[in-house]
């Protein structure tokens, strides 16, 4: 019996490490998006960047980040199978995640800033940016919840930007920078939560 208990223990530890790997990939995914956003802010401070730069930087950043996300997604699918958390209908879920980001871009960058929201032009942009993050990540979280399981770690990354919308709305100056810091904080908390879950899974 001692042998069986020991084997079960080993098996549980193996599964714990596989779960931890999945959580670390989740953290890396958010870290990449955070780095891309912060690099933009750093460049804004160093160079006198024309607005046209956005037309190059963000599509390029989107391509880099989504290719990374795609690779992470493949690994998560593999790990999900091994730890009984298989991502069902991965093709459909992939399409739905893309759809949530596209909806977020259209609403957050296209429609909301033109609706006359906020007390200034900067506030309108900040409300749009926070709405984009909130809607896109909330959509992604719903897809995960439906097809794989509830990822509680993602909650700060859409809840904090959502709570920031009314504050950004009333900012006369500096709303966009404040919104950027809010999103950076929310992503950092998600990364920390993922890492905490990973260590918990290893130590279980």
């Amino acid at each position: 019996m001692e042998e069986v208990r020991e084997l079960k223990n080993v098996l549980e530890r193996v599964e714990g490490k596989l779960i931890a790997a999945g959580k670390m990939y989740g953290a890396m995914n958010f870290a990449v998006w955070l780095a891309i956003m912060l690099l933009y802010y750093v460049m804004l401070g160093i160079f006198d960047i024309p607005w046209q730069f956005n037309l190059i930087y963000w599509p390029a950043a989107f391509i880099v980040a989504t290719s990374f996300t795609g690779r992470v997604w493949e690994r998560l699918k593999r790990l999900g199978k091994a730890v009984d958390r298989e991502i069902e209908g991965s093709k459909i879920s992939g399409i739905l995640i893309m759809a949530s980001w596209i909806t977020g871009i259209i609403l957050g960058w296209g429609i909301i800033p033109r609706m006359g929201v906020g007390v200034s032009e900067g506030a309108a942009l900040a409300v749009g940016f926070l709405s984009f993050i909130t809607l896109s990540i909330f959509g992604m979280w719903l897809v995960f919840a439906r097809y794989s399981g509830v990822e509680r770690e993602i909650i700060p990354s859409f809840l904090i930007p959502a709570m920031g919308i009314p504050i950004a709305w009333n900012m006369e100056t500096g709303a966009m920078v404040w919104a950027g810091f809010t999103v950076a904080l929310s992503f950092t908390l998600t990364i920390l939560w993922y890492l905490h879950s990973a260590f918990k899974a290893i130590e279980r």
Partner: protein, 103 residues
């Protein structure tokens, strides 16, 4: 216990080195031969024979890459992912069965 022995005997992954290779590959997807050697602490000949068995079963693919010099690399296949997951499930089921029958 007999069920456990039976499972190990009749499965490609019943060998601990092969199971170790697959578990190391699962989160990574692909690794270099020399990394497997270091992690599993086996001889090159021993590892090579286990990798050949896994390749024959369709669980992995062995290929060459140019790193600091030409190196052998191993990548997990879709079948390998599925079979490893199934094996872990069976192992868990057998262990649960033994434990509950003895209680």
């Amino acid at each position: 216990m007999e069920a456990l022995r039976e499972l190990s005997r009749n499965h490609t992954l019943g060998n601990p080195v092969r199971l170790g290779v697959m578990l190391y590959l699962l989160p990574r997807g692909r690794v270099l031969f020399r990394d497997l050697l270091e992690v599993l602490e086996v001889t090159p000949g021993n590892l090579d024979s286990h990798l050949k068995a896994l390749e024959k079963a369709g669980y992995i693919e062995i290929y060459k890459v140019i790193a600091d010099r030409p190196r052998t690399a191993v990548r997990i296949t879709e079948k390998g992912v599925k079979e490893t997951a199934e094996y872990l499930k069976s192992l868990r089921k057998v262990l649960d069965g033994i434990q509950s029958s003895s209680e």
